[in-house]
Amino acid sequence: MSTLAAFVKAKARNGWRQLTSMRTALILLVLLALAAIPGSVLPQKSVSPENVTRYFREHPDLAPVLDKLGGFDVFRSPWFAAIYLLLFTSLIGCILPRTRDHARALLMRVPDAPKRLERLPAHHRGETTHGPQEIAAALRGWRRVIREHPDGTTTISAERGYLKETGNLVFHTALIGVLAGVAVGAFGGWHANRLLVQGPEQAFCTSVQQFDDYRPGAWVGAGDLPKYCFEMTGFRASYLDTGQPKSFSATVSVSGAAARTADFSVNHPLRLGDANLYLLGHGYAPVLRYTDKAGQSQTTVAPFLPIDNTTLTSEGVAIFPDANADPATGQTSPSEQVAFAGLYVPTAPDSGTVASSVFPAENNPRLVLTLYRGDLGLDLGIPSSVYQLNQNQIATGRLSAVGEAKALRPGESWTLGDGSKLEFVGTRPWITVAVRHDPGEPIVLVSVALLLAGLMLSLTGKRRRVWVRLIPSEGGRTVLVAGGLARSEYPGFAEEFTGLIDRMGLTERMGGEEREPVGALR
């Protein structure tokens, strides 16, 4: 049993040593870089889910295999996690002993001079009349130790550049801080998207049901969301003549803990403390009033989604499921529901067909609609998009297009064959907003600041040691032998060493003997 324990222990120690070696760390770095590449080549669920869907459609054989391998969610896949967790383990295994060694080095006195200083990359031999205190004074800013030896010699050991290793350790520790911050954000944060049309009846509140898309972290319950309601009261967009956007901004009135009315725009989110509101996109929502043959009218505000972001040609539907109710009973017939589908063109070309917009602002708006009549399929209990008609109902003939498409200007009406009437009242702007909270952000920010500071210290710092040995000689003279070495990349050390010897300012040429050159290893 004890031999088995010893075996396991030896294996574990060996494995740990392997894992924390620089070689392993380098291999893991290379693997991490390679593993990230598919994350840019393949569409990612977290970045563009619609592109993932398209990829599935275009590569029906390959996509499921890639999906199994985590190819559409690389940065959350087990193998990506395995690489960075191993890397961080290796990192911790490197930081801990180095921190211990560095703390020791900081607490310990600079070690005594080696026997043969002239073997060091930079060295000097001369004569001096000064004592150890004066020599040490020339090494101001260095950690110095003066040692007197029984043979009468005195050595001065000096070292500086400890901040290099300090910076190195801060940098690597800060990396762990970044990972911790990311984790806190992933578990404790949440984000949601919502399309918000201007107008009081279109307002929404921060509750799970009212978001279009809600992604909570694992630690977030529905009750943890802060309570806010948002109503859009204004939207402004300006464009260059070429159609390139110049500015977008929206005004929202916020009710809840921090009630206010505020403007926000791209790059200037609305920060509420425990949630931020970001402006992501915008478009137009035609307002349509439908009066059925019984004279009952209903109004709907239907957001149309841009199919071309540069000109805002948009596509959408307006549905009237309660149309054509029996005036006596109030009963609606599923086969007499009404819907309109088509394009909204904010600036139609002066001539030709109104198939696409030529400018993103509403300079010459047209709404091109086709009437559909039949069963919209709303009662089937199958969730369906509110931006397009149920294609299955159309395919099975339960819902069908009636007549030709019709282009409408704002304010125009369209009288349909059965005597009912559709009026294009106008449009309202809509925006898409992201509501987000990420409690990991401050951790990441502070860690990154430390990381940068540590990196600068680590890359600019130069650890070096200098020793001076004073040997009493006949006639009250003192022989001075000095040597020094840079413990890291430092091409300028030779010059600094020469400068130090000059600063000691004390050496004179030994009688007859040539002063040895101060030279670095070349």
């Binding site: 870089a33 590449i37 994350g39 260059l240 791209v266 790059n267 990420d438 940068l452």
Partner: protein
């Protein structure tokens, strides 16, 4: 002439001036080569007693290679001035920093690279011959920018209207330029190193006329050690901006992913460099791969992927 037209003229001037510098650098190589062969053949052909003294040989004939090299540096200086002129005029015409689309970005990043190179070549004359690579890269980048990426002067789209635009893009431009300035000696180190090991195929044959492998290896490290913190800062600044613009500081957008890859590769370079057991050839190759990832991010990502960073103005 309008400022934007001036900028367009100057970019042509800069490209052609770099081309002249490139030709002069090539002349530097071929002329100094010819002189050496001539000298050698004289000695061999002389047979018995040396008729031609080498001293007289060098003083009698001017070293046209060195002359061409000095001229190449002066001409590169002119090209850098024209290059500075084109981005300045562009910035003044647009009333903003001249890196709002990929055309301007490539012009600015290559300017930083050229300026860093010029500084190096003036302070360390022994590396001057590397100018042949730098001027070649400049001609290619400027030609590519002018012919493929060219975009009319226009103000920034709303997503770029932020002071982080200046901070993030400026530092990205600077670090990209410095990475270029580090890539050149890394590639030259590999050539020189191959030459020293007796390789005789084409790129290695150039090695004999390059500075020592050790000098170039050290230069590579210094450039990267300088560029890496700036790049780290640039990515961090980008993250802070992304938080304000898109609501998250990091979202694995293709640009972000490739910045991550570059960062990891360059971190690998610095670690490998500081590990004595890793062969310096491997280290230099990591630097070369790092540069490829930077180029992939600056140019490849704009063409191959669509992401949030789609301001390049290329279709």
């Amino acid at each position: 002439m309008s400022l934007s037209a001036l900028s367009d003229e100057l970019v042509v001037v800069a490209t052609l001036t770099y081309l002249v510098a490139l030709i002069l650098h090539t002349a530097e190589y071929s002329l100094s080569n010819r002189r050496r062969t001539v000298a050698a053949s004289v000695l061999v052909g002389a047979g018995g007693p040396p008729v031609v003294e080498p001293e007289a040989e060098t003083t009698a004939r001017r070293d046209w290679g060195a002359v061409a090299g000095r001229w190449a540096l002066w001409v590169t200086g002119l090209a850098v001035l024209a290059h500075l002129g084109t981005i300045t005029a562009r910035g003044l015409a647009a009333h903003r920093m001249p890196w709002g689309n990929m055309y301007e970005f490539v012009l600015s990043a290559s300017f930083v690279g050229a300026a860093a190179w010029l500084f190096m070549a003036v302070t360390m004359p022994q590396v001057r011959r590397l100018g042949v690579v730098l001027t070649l890269v400049q001609v290619l980048l400027l030609g590519f920018a002018g012919m493929v990426l060219y975009t009319q002067v226009s103000p920034l789209v709303p997503a770029l209207q932020s002071y982080w635009y200046v901070v993030h893009v400026t530092t990205i431009v600077i670090s990209s330029g410095l990475f270029l300035a580090g890539f050149v000696p890394a590639a030259m180190f590999l050539i020189r190193d191959g030459f020293d090991r007796g390789r005789t195929r084409f790129p290695y044959t150039l090695g004999g006329r390059l500075p020592s492998a050790e000098a170039m290896e050290r230069l590579t490290f210094r450039m990267h050690a300088f560029a890496f913190p700036i790049f780290t800062f640039a990515v961090s600044a980008g993250a802070i901006w992304a938080e304000a613009a898109w609501g998250r500081y990091w979202g694995w957008d293709p640009k972000e992913t490739w910045a991550f890859i570059s960062w990891i590769v360059y971190a690998g370079y610095l670690h490998a460099r500081s590990t004595p057991s890793v062969n310096r050839r491997v280290v230099a190759w990591i630097a070369v791969i790092g540069w490829l990832t930077v180029m992939m991010n600056l140019i490849g990502v704009n063409f191959f992927f669509t992401g949030l960073h789609s301001y390049a103005g290329v279709e």
